[in-house]
């Protein structure tokens, strides 16, 4: 029986692909698969795009795409199924996407993100929509020789190069790629066009090893995940930190949307006509108030501070507890975009640098601070101090009781460093 040229001739799991052959190889892929790769567009942005023809677009292997390729597995807005009602009752039209795909040039953080999705969507009752797309997608990972500005995948143990999980992994060795085969279907893909590859020599293997070492030495950020998780487990994070993060969060949802592992989604119906409709799902974020609010209005995570706390506990501690690995892959995308610095990078830094207990500011200073902030007048302060002498209450409580200032103002003035006993009334009650 005649075989396709070269098919099955891969002698080893470590190969070399010369860069001059890359486009030819990718062109072959487009014949049997939908090829997705990072593309730098004319506006200067790099995004994962479907590549109809490799000759028409510039594949960008320098810049990491703005978002991870998670939308190719779970689009931001997805129709789960359509339904229609007629005389005989309801009928459903299930959507199915079984397009075979190759994602080329995704980075270790993003591959790890997909592996985390695998855990979620395969666990227990399976998510057909995700798994249908995932089953037929081959991941060609490109290790990172040069970590980006906010990258900390090494600390998150998810990069810069992977040791498992990829179908194929590439390492840039200048004029050539070092190619590693991780899973059988990766081998199958390469075997189809084995003439583009030659077995790696010891020199290639050494060069790859050096590239890995060099890259690992280039990280600007080193974070101690274990120490951070330890702090969370032992409740060692100063409550003032959560308050402060809650204050800074502007509720855009961006951290969840850009995160390669954030998978939470919302489901809802979208009517199309009187008799027809669709059930959709969209990306959701646990930092939104409506995420946990019950129909009657009760919300177990009413405050922004609680929701942010939940987010970090979930990603670092709960997922570690459940899956033995935190669901942060260290891509630093949240750090790229969160101007409030409520991102993973800033957070781990913050809690690891935090002193065990910060001394409470003296009450004498509270008056000054409020005065300075224009929240109270000198008259108010004098009268509060006078009354305080009689009641013996803390100045803050006294001011609140006099009605000249409220809890929030005090918290604001002090960056929520102070907690005044007896004033923590919740207006929601």
């Amino acid at each position: 029986m005649r075989r396709a040229p070269g098919k099955g001739d891969l002698m080893t799991d470590k190969l070399i692909l010369y860069k001059e052959h890359l486009n030819s190889f990718l062109r072959k892929i487009t014949k049997g698969f939908e090829l997705i790769a990072p593309v730098r567009n004319t506006y200067g942005d790099t995004l994962f795009e479907v590549i109809p023809s490799v000759d028409d677009v510039g594949i960008d292997l320098t810049n990491r795409p703005i978002l991870s390729p998670k939308r190719f597995f779970m689009p931001q807005v997805e129709t789960l199924f359509a339904y229609r009602y007629d005389k005989s009752g309801y009928t459903f039209k299930d959507t199915a996407d079984n397009t075979p795909r190759v994602i080329f040039g995704l980075r270790s953080c993003d591959t790890r993100g997909i592996l985390f999705y695998d855990l979620i969507f395969q666990e227990g009752l399976k998510d057909k929509y995700y798994l249908d797309r995932r089953r037929d997608t081959i991941l060609i990972n490109l290790g990172c020789n040069q970590p980006g500005e906010n990258c900390f995948c090494k600390s998150a143990q998810s990069g810069p190069f992977l040791t498992y999980g990829y179908d194929i992994q590439l390492t840039d060795l200048g004029d050539r790629f070092f190619v590693e085969i991780g899973r059988p279907r990766g081998r199958e893909l390469l075997a189809g066009w084995s003439y583009f590859f030659r077995p790696a020599t010891q020199a290639d293997i050494d060069a790859q090893y050096e590239a890995v070492l060099e890259s690992e030495g280039r990280f600007r950020h080193r974070l101690d995940f274990d120490a951070a998780i330890e702090k969370l487990i032992n409740q060692k994070v100063d409550p003032a930190i959560w308050e402060e993060l809650g204050r800074r969060c502007q509720n855009c949802g961006g951290c969840a949307y850009v995160c390669p592992t954030c998978y939470c989604f919302n489901m809802f119906d979208s009517p199309c006509s009187e008799k027809e409709g669709e059930r959709l799902r969209t990306w959701d974020a646990c930092t939104f108030a409506g995420f946990s609010r019950l129909a009657g209005g009760y919300n177990p995570r009413q405050d922004k501070a609680q929701r942010i706390k939940r987010r970090f506990y979930h990603k670092l501690f709960y997922d570690k507890q459940k899956y033995n690995i935190p669901s942060c892959v260290g891509c630093g995308r949240c750090a790229d975009i969160c101007f409030g610095r409520i991102d993973m990078l800033s957070f781990i830094r913050l809690i690891c640098e935090q002193k065990e207990k910060s001394p409470a500011p003296a009450h004498r200073r509270l008056g000054e601070l409020l005065l300075e902030a224009g929240i109270i007048s000198q008259k108010d302060l004098d009268s509060a101090i006078e009354k305080q002498a009689a009641t013996g209450k803390p100045l803050g409580v006294q001011l609140v009781e006099m009605g000249v200032v409220d809890k929030e103002a005090i918290a604001g003035a002090l960056g929520c460093q102070l907690k005044i006993p007896g004033t923590a009334k919740n207006v929601e009650d």
């Binding site: 703005i66 689009p75 807005v77 949802g253 919302n266 979208s270 939104f288 409506g290 609010r293 409220d406």
Partner: protein, 675 residues
Amino acid sequence: MHSVLTTCPFCACGCGLYLHVENERIVGVTPSKKHPISRGNLCVKGWNSIEHVRHAERLREPLIRKNGKLFRTGWDQALKRVSLELLKIKKKYGGESIGILSSAKCTNEENYLLMKLGRAVLKTNNIDHCARLCHSPSVLGLTNAFGSGAMTNSISELAGAEVILVTGSNTTEQHPQIARFIFEALDKGAKLIVIDPRRIELSRFAHIHLRPRLGTDVIWLNGMMKIILDEGLLDDSFIKMRTENFPEFRKFLSRFDLGQVEAISGISLEDLGRAAKIYAGAKRAIIIYSMGITQHVSGTDNVESIANLAMMTGHVEQEITGVFPLRGQNNVQGACDMGALPGMLSGYQRVDDPAVLDKFSRAWNTGLPAAPGLSSVDMLHETGRIKGMFIMGENSMLSHPDMKNVRASMEHLDFLAVADIFLTETAEVADVILPAAAFAEKDGTVTSTERRIQRMRKAIPPVHLSKPDWQIIIELARRMGYPMDYESPAEVMEEIALLTPIYGGVYYDRLETIQGLQWPCPDRNHPGTTYLHKKSFARGKGLFSCIAYRPPDETPDKKYPFALTTGRVYEHWHTGTMTRRISILKRECPEGFIEISPADARALGIINGEPVKVISPRGEVTTRARLVEGLPGKTLFMPFHFREAPANALTNHAVDPQARIPELKICAVRLEKVT
């Protein structure tokens, strides 16, 4: 799946975002990273800006009213009806009896074409749009003072500011992406002064938060300037070189009695003095303001006072210093630029300037009306004057004050046509409703608050039978006997560029960059302008105006003891037509409410979440009470997004005599518990 770069359809921050398209459906959004404003992120509205496009309630085909009921019809019949009815009214009563509302949600090209249709074909200058309700005082006041009504500088300059004074702008909620630059400045050590009656999110980060009583802005502004004068903190050389009428203004200020400041505004002189010193003492200081300043009967006064303040301290005419009126809608700047204004053609060229009129009549090959037209407030609040209206993409029924009055005017019209994407409250009373294409379904340009002209790009075809507004206008013009021959919005822009000096160099091929072009851009080789008034004001010298305080039109009394102020929330956009059809946004803020201070609530026995009836001299609304700390006593706040609890059923339509903006920011109401 492919990606199409476009501009966010909500606010005037003008974020660049990619729409991901699969099988003619939008399945996701990615913020542009290279875009100077979005920088890789969006606000919650931007991230969720797509669901409404395919919503089931999108208008599917033209609707026509017969015997009080709406019926489906074809385009041909609907367009015929609109053109015949409007021409009939024109013939019977004259063009001045026709009113046109253009839209800050539509593209520049659509605004230009609609104002052309109005002026060249229907012979009316009664053309206006929602800028009337937001920044008409800025257009007027800043033009008087500086010669240009637009934001003087670029958004990103905020990050480098030394001092930022924010007044009457809830920036984190209404312009979240601009707020991010404020936070950046704060991180670098900038000082923030917030002057706002409510304790807004930003005030928690402010070094000084002053809380004037509603509608007392001229008082604190004059007070602040008097202190600056007394303390000798003014920029003498700037005043001398760059401005005029200062001696008069100095005389005016010296007569100003500082004693009244605290009594009227509630701000202590001590606090005001600290703010004055910080602002005047800075090398580079920026004033951000928005509707809290403009939506008053003294709106223009307020704006001119802000201009006075900026000029006397030399905080204008340079980079990283200036006056930032934050525009609301994604294209409210552009709609103004395009001359969707009763007194101006595109590029703020006055209709009563014979040379301008001559230029346009020759270009358009027809005679044009010379007298400035009516504002939207005058069209919608003076029953009987206008006989027929064409409204493109505006929901005036919910956005204008005094809803009952607006409804009466609309119902009194002989003919009303509305083009929109949903059956809005305004469309519900129309005689003909034309289904328009949504932002993702058409090409065009929009101009953001920083004068940035950017592309809106078609990602999917219009749903059902809907059409882009520009095509609708062309169709109407043709049927009215004035053929408009444009193949594309790009071709419309070529005409705009020829006739509009500030857009003189704006061509579609030049907009194929991530940052677009900032006007003024007078010719093809001009790189655009990041900040205005460099070395000289647009009008030559900056003009100081002496502004006396004028109290609000309606203040609380015994019968209506509360002052109601209105505004918006982070998750929703204006009358909620789009955002209330987007699942995440709807969930985040499902229904309307009225904010009340816990003390006032206690006094009335109102519990958080309880329904209350709000009654003003003009109407009543039932909504839920939300107890919030940080509201001044006897002051209530209500967002105007919610049709079930429309704040504008209560508001007052008394207007600023110059800018004709209604006083949406204060009216008197009383509260009743619903038992």
